[in-house]
Symmetry: C2
Subunit: 664 residues, 2 copies
């Protein structure tokens, strides 16, 4: 029997080699093979099944998460998975769990901030999960402003201990994942006080719960902070609250790589460069950009597949109606998001390279590229997560009413994704950091100091401030050089305009505050330029496979011209392009959509997502949407009984006109 | 003891009479008094408490909804509430329930489409809730395209009955609220077939469940369609699925006001004008616009209050940090939404007038204003719901991490609100209807036919196509005449540009399809003009109260200039304003934010929302956010036990290195 495939015709239409595109998407043949194999292991395992997740109560969902985490760990050991494979496995299990923080924050914090001795003591236990750790930084009253944290760690020279304490309600630790119910240990960030002096925020390893009976240790109040956005989603995570009542820890549990407190209470910075911390931030943020492309591509895959199944209007002589993917309005909303998924994938790949590069330089004591790398990862984290959150919701709307069903997968994807806009740096705060860096770069333009890396274009300020766009016809907009110059000119002119406005303020900080909305826009322009330029650079590589490069060129153009259209005000009002050229860009964009159309399904197939990972009836590989929606509906607990619970108490008395006397 | 009020200082700063503003917001003193009284009745009633809603399982939530609906009905009877008051009561109970559809769709459908005889038979039962009805239109495979519905109603002259049947899986009714578990009856839309001919979609009253035991009648399969977006939210509603297997109903249960089938199976249109149906659409959509301003104002109220409580950065000498509402980036994102809430409120008020006007004209057989009224309500439904959905999520982000907690109220508000973008006309489909109307209006400009109502400005095409904006200084942007002309010119020029592009296509329908993304943008420009113009018209009324009008003028300018900035590409590329004038608009906007700032809390107080209705710890009237967040966290079921369920099975074996042998 042939497998059912409602998308077969769409797949036949593809003009490129999907298998080769899968490798491009994955980054390498090796990455593709690991992903593919591990995804199948997860998808075929009944314990990892997740399609009923949104129907579980908080308690059941949490228990299910503990089970999955334990089972994942068992499979990792049984199959002797490498670190790369284990990470992939957790990724495909796709349910936020305490292990994310243990592996993603606790272990790296000890590695990055612990001395060699400390690493030797704590890491082996953490690697074997004999202890489970979390990362307790954020407080009820302090998120973005880490330096404002209130928890104190006061050194007591009498006992050679730190006393960890929560002096106020707002100093309660609040949000750390894995803290609420599971972690036995935490890296706690607290103000280091010794000899009566406050040395600011430092990290300390604190045991929270007994390894015998899991009860909180004396002086520790710990619990879950409660339900979060959506059903399923991040409610599988025990984001926690934590209060200390004079909890004592040995002095050597302060993470002492960057600075230490001696036996007699002296504070001593070490000679390890503090910039190393920024290296870690570059690392974390590049993973966030990679996650953005994953989340976005999931949403796009669902919306694209369902847009080819769903038909509405346009029936001729009783024939089938038109697939909604054929409507230009649908294409103009969907295809730029498809292009964005690829764009973010490639910029994420480049950020991985950047991290390696920065790390190597740091090891060689070369800090020169760090500010630029830091600004660029902060900015890319911001624009890719904002765009992805918006895009997931847009994909949901593109699925019409059915996108609102949990079984479409999109509501949960949105709910689980949106915190990325806030954690690891609020997106607006990050853009202001980028803007600060840009203003500094602009101010140094006259000084002979050559801007490097992603700001190299600013070195061509003279040209970019006065150049005019060469576009005469819609096709001209396909030239990478034209696109690059337009984006560079726009970004530079917006930065320069801000710098000029700033210079009118006598107090620069006041000016920066007053103009911050404009500065944010300039930062966005700069970051979008980076994404466009990395996509174009990717296309300069050798990309094998029939038609693969051609498709990527189309998507690159879609991405760039979509931005031109969306930010037309920037481009036209800075004089980078004329209104006529803006209209030509838009015209070219429409024609590109027609080129994407026959390849749309294949372009999302190239993500190589299993139905398990997508967890969406609308996004099923075989397109068998309606029968499966109907089938799934009956699984809702409300359908357990024909007459609903509550009918006799609350509906019948009403129908019988006995509501006044009914016992409600 | 004085009541705690963390916002006291903010409230003292207000420069206007908040009590008078409450009346402006409500629409009249009477409306204010009714709202205020009914809101308090609901807020003080323990049965209507809703702060634990997101923690309930689907079944418990549904049972809770049935209880609230029954209790609401009892209170309505006991307190002898008027229809206006009863509607308000259901509004403040604020939990989607089958009664919404019974009162909002089932009853109006019978009123609008039933003959006098039918109304006499069915309405008294419906008014007393002896029967409960829903509105069964949408099918699994058909939403937007109502004419494509597949359910059939075939007349059988032998028995004088209609046979209602679901011929395909995709013809299953899908989505109707109240259908899944509660409704005893439905107005079912089906293709009327008599004498072998298909007369298209008509409405039929069909009993679904026994009034004795609530079991589905023979031939009827009915159930709930399953979980939807979010926790709490619309999961309180039993959106349902419904299949008919040759279900017979008497001929007189076809709704026969507009057309009928005679005893011998003849199809006969009546002499009642079909345009009446459009009158109903105007009604329904104006309520949706009113709901948009409610939902948006709730979100804005929460975000504004919390922005005044939350502090981050900027501490000087150990003093308190800066309230985040003082940051220009926060203001530039929040205050336009505050202004939008007021703008949508006033355009909603105007739509109420429009509906009355249209109704009176229809009764006098004057259909002349109907197409314009229809286009304008369709368009306003689209742009206000899209903007509101986006704004709720923006407000959530503006609350930082804590906005992600269910107890902030914002996740549930978003989840419960977003379907408004899809139901009663998908927002993109509606904008295309507006665009079609605009293209028709433009094409008739030369013909001497004067465009009326909201398109009257198109009558001044000659001027608007060539006028240039007079703005010389930022202050010039405060003049209503300047704003109006810029918005009119932009809207007209975008429509005319579309019309010109369309004229190049030999097949107009092909052209319309190809250019649809541009047409959508032209429609948005037209609808934004309407909102701006109605705000400006409102300000021409006499508005009493110290400083009240002044505040509204500021908000009106914020709304208009925010749109100018957001759609700068439209304004500049059509030559309506210069880049320099765009920059001046932005400058003026920043200065307006400073004027909104001291009044922000009072401006959201003017919505007069109870803490019950807001259901948000961040939005509490007294601003006591952190203590209450902390208190609420402990109520999560996960905190019922210190050691979580699942610890012994899934965590302990892992910590003890016994995972391989554990029984998972």
């Amino acid at each position: 029997m042939e497998a059912l495939d409602y998308h077969a015709e769409e797949r036949r239409k593809a003009e490129f080699d999907v298998e080769e595109m899968k490798i491009v998407w994955a980054g390498s043949r090796h990455a593709y093979e690991v992903s593919d194999r591990v995804a199948r292991i997860v998808a075929s395992d009944p314990v990892f099944q997740k399609d009923n997740r949104t129907m579980l109560s908080r308690k059941d969902l949490f228990k299910d998460t503990l089970k999955k985490a334990a089972h994942a760990w068992r499979r990792i050991i049984e199959l002797r998975l490498s670190e790369e494979e284990a990470t992939k496995l957790r990724f495909f299990v796709d349910q936020p769990a305490y292990t994310d923080l243990h592996w993603g924050m606790f272990v790296p914090a000890i590695k990055g901030q612990g001395t060699e001795e400390q690493q030797k003591k704590w890491l082996p236990m953490a690697y074997k999960m004999q202890i489970i750790g979390c990362y307790a930084q954020t407080e009820l009253g302090h998120g973005s402003n880490v330096q404002g944290l209130e928890t104190t760690a006061t050194f007591d020279p009498q006992t050679d201990e730190f006393v960890i304490h929560s002096p106020t309600l707002t100093s309660s630790k609040w949000w750390p994942g894995g803290l609420g119910k599971v972690s036995t240990h935490a890296v706690v960030y607290a103000r280091l006080i010794t000899d009566g002096q406050d040395y600011g925020v430092h990290g300390f390893i604190v045991q929270l719960r007994s390894l015998d009976d899991h009860l909180p240790l004396p002086g520790i109040t710990v619990g879950d902070i409660g339900m979060k956005f959506g059903s399923g989603a991040y409610n599988s995570m025990d984001n926690g609250l934590l209060r200390f009542d004079h909890v004592r820890i040995p002095r050597d549990q302060m993470l002492m790589r960057l600075s230490q407190v001696t036996r007699d209470g002296k504070y001593m910075p070490s000679d390890v460069p503090r910039q190393l911390v920024y290296g870690t931030m570059v690392y974390v943020r590049q993973t966030i950009v990679a996650d953005a492309s994953s989340a976005l591509s999931k949403a796009v895959c669902i919306a694209t597949r369902y847009s080819a199944i769903r038909r509405q209007f346009g029936s001729q002589n009783g024939g089938p109606e038109t697939q909604v993917i054929n409507y230009k309005t649908q294409q103009s909303r969907l295809f730029p998001l498809l292009a964005s998924a690829y764009a973010f994938r490639f910029v994420g790949e480049w950020l991985k390279w950047l991290y390696t590069d920065v790390t190597e330089r740091l090891q060689a004591n070369d800090f020169s590229t760090l500010p630029e790398a830091h600004a660029c990862t902060a900015g890319l984290k911001s624009i890719t997560t904002t765009a992805t959150a918006d895009a997931i919701e847009e994909c949901r709307k593109l699925c019409g009413g059915h996108g609102y069903l949990s079984s479409s997968g999109l509501p949960e994807l949105f709910a689980v994704y949106v915190p990325a806009c806030t954690y690891e740096g609020d997106n607006t705060v990050l853009l202001l950091q980028v803007a600060r860096f840009l203003m500094k770069t602009v101010s140094q333009l006259g000084s002979g100091k050559k801007p490097g890396g992603t700001t190299a274009y600013m070195g061509r300020a003279e040209h970019l401030m006065q150049c005019s766009c060469d576009v005469q016809s819609a096709e001209d907009w396909l030239k990478p050089s034209i696109i690059m110059e337009a984006f560079e000119a726009r970004a530079l002119r917006m930065s320069v305009a801000c710098a000029q406005s700033l210079s009118k303020f006598s107090n620069p900080e006041e000016g920066f505050a007053e103009l911050s909305p404009n500065l944010v826009e300039a930062a966005v322009a700069h970051c979008q330029l980076i994404v466009v330029s990395k996509f174009i650079e990717k296309l300069q590589q050798d990309i094998p496979g029939k038609g693969v490069k051609r498709q990527l060129e189309i998507l690159c153009n879609v991405y760039a011209l979509y931005l031109v259209h969306k930010h037309l005000g920037d481009f036209v009002s800075t004089g980078c392009i004329t209104p006529k050229q803006g209209a030509l860009a838009n015209e070219q964009l429409r024609s590109l959509y027609s080129q994407v159309r026959p390849n749309a399904i294949a372009l999302v197939d190239a993500f190589n997502y299993t139905d398990h990972f997508l967890s969406s009836i609308l996004g099923r590989y075989d397109g068998n949407v309606y029968a499966k929606l109907y089938e799934a509906a009956w699984k809702d607990p409300l359908n357990d009984s024909v007459v609903p619970d509550g009918y006799h108490d609350y509906v019948k008395p009403l129908l019988r006109q006995q509501i006044i006397t009914a016992r409600l």
